[in-house]
Symmetry: C2
Subunit: 103 residues, 2 copies
Amino acid sequence: MAHGDVFQAISDPTRRRLVERLSRSELSVNALARPFRMSRPAISQHLRVLRRAGLVRVRRAGRERYYRLYVLPLRRVHDWVSHYERFWKDKLTALGKYLEETP
Amino acid sequence: MAHGDVFQAISDPTRRRLVERLSRSELSVNALARPFRMSRPAISQHLRVLRRAGLVRVRRAGRERYYRLYVLPLRRVHDWVSHYERFWKDKLTALGKYLEETP
DNA sequence: TTGACAAGTAAGCAGTAGCTTACCTATTAT
DNA sequence: ATAATAGGTAAGCTACTGCTTACTTGTCAA
């Protein structure tokens, strides 16, 4: 399983774009890779990272493989970041005030 | 400014812990570094990454430097991740359903 | 059945990340 | 003035990342 880290998985902009594309629909690797200027093996390797982080799953159909987004691991990121949300929403906290004073 | 990437900045678990510690209060580097088993220069280097990502700011007081959290860059991460929130909250979407079917 | 195509893996390479020890600078204390 | 302290920077090392090209495997089409 190799169970990679989600934070690390989404730290790369290419992988974030892959996730974005998959949020619209399931896609074959070729379709996924189309807009990228990178070699297809590079994409395969990024997909491996996403797979290991549990962010995507593959369905084989003939000689194609369809990737589908599996968002649950993103929840960890969401939860971690949400903890700080109040600092930019609640301007009454010390840090929030500091924020306002310093542009 | 060197304007580092926030996603990359928080991809390291040590840096996330630093951010967590700073969310409670402003801290000097020594105070910050106390619970870590790493050398202090290592911490300084992590702080530089956080600084470049705009996540912390320093205030000098005598020979100490107090680091303070500056959360605004986290908003980018929050926004990006929030876009996928509906996939685990709204179980009616295709991907949400898929999620339910596959444990 | 021969070839084209989809996608993955392997090997190799340059660049960077994360750590260490050693050193430097500024401030405080004796 | 001397030494201790806070913290940063530099150099160097290992390990990992992200890419490439070359090769492999499985599937479909002529």
